[in-house]
Symmetry: C2
Subunit: 184 residues, 2 copies
């Protein structure tokens, strides 16, 4: 089985491929202009983008939206994590967290698929804490400052395999895969 | 002449009314769900929203999008100023600016109107600096920490009249008014 992933982010593509390969689902990158609305939750952003793709007849096309939600910052940067990464970067987040006792946060991924002209959304969450300083060179975005619950390393210190097992994105794509296996 | 402003923000409505009243243009608030896309510039966000309103046949309906662009923060919070105001607030911006020498910033407003099924966009900019601490209780959002160039008070320390003369929003709505007078 083959699906299409509407993304220009090669890291997202690699992570999706890694998870879905275990279900014998191939992932092809689709260069398509996707609609990104403003919303406080990534589920809605992914869902609206997939709806638009459905309207354009893009069957079995998947969009993923993800964000880092920091509790002490009222969920910031949340759905705008990519923009915040580009502007403030990791130093900006660490500055905002300077002297803040509650470092709890979670990553959330929403995977939406257009299948048979209707849209399904799958969500994955990874809970953890914001590190005091960046560590590791794997992953992308805020991975170097996110330590998943119960572990001593950041997402950026993990292999694709390790991250895929416990990450928000890995969980959301697994849920998609389980559903696709029944849908097929 | 009468136009419609698609907004739920009563401050924006008051500022628009104040400026446009001088041109004998009445402004009626329109409660309409507007599309807000993600984009790095407010012009595109306003334009896309107005295009959608045009498709829905909403003639002479105006949308406004605005943001505070801080140079030392690579333009942050920019188009996501409202979300950042809700989550980090003024204390978050001041924390990010702590120890930063370059406090220059600008507010930008983009006013887009659907008129005769095509869309026109008008832009207004107000340059200034980020204050060391909030001052004043007028305006809304980040007004208490924005000191326009050449003045010693923040937007929040001004009357509606004063702010309308020099603000980004005042300038964009004036440009709209000048155009509407010819369009009519």
């Amino acid at each position: 089985m083959r699906i299409y992933l509407a993304t220009s982010n090669k890291h997202k593509l690699a992570e999706a491929r890694h998870v879905l390969s275990k279900y014998s689902i191939e992932v092809e990158q689709k260069q398509v202009k996707k609609l990104e609305v403003q919303a406080d939750d990534v589920e809605r952003i992914a869902e609206e983008a997939a709806k638009r793709l459905c309207e354009q007849g893009e069957d079995l096309t998947v969009v993923e939206d993800a964000g880092l939600y920091i509790n002490a910052l009222n969920g910031f940067p949340g759905p705008y994590s990519e923009y915040v990464y580009k502007t403030l970067g990791i130093p900006g987040i660490l500055k905002l967290m300077d002297g803040v006792a509650d470092r709890s946060a979670y990553f959330k991924s929403a995977v939406a698929v257009c299948a048979g002209s209707s849209v399904r959304v799958f969500v994955g969450i990874a809970e953890g804490n914001i590190a005091e300083e960046p560590r590791g060179s794997g992953g992308f975005g805020f991975d170097p400052i996110f330590i998943p619950l119960g572990l001593n390393k950041t997402f950026a210190e993990m292999t694709l395999e390790e991250k895929g097992e416990i990450s928000h994105r890995g969980r959301a794509f697994k849920a998609l895969a389980e559903w696709l296996k029944k849908y097929k």
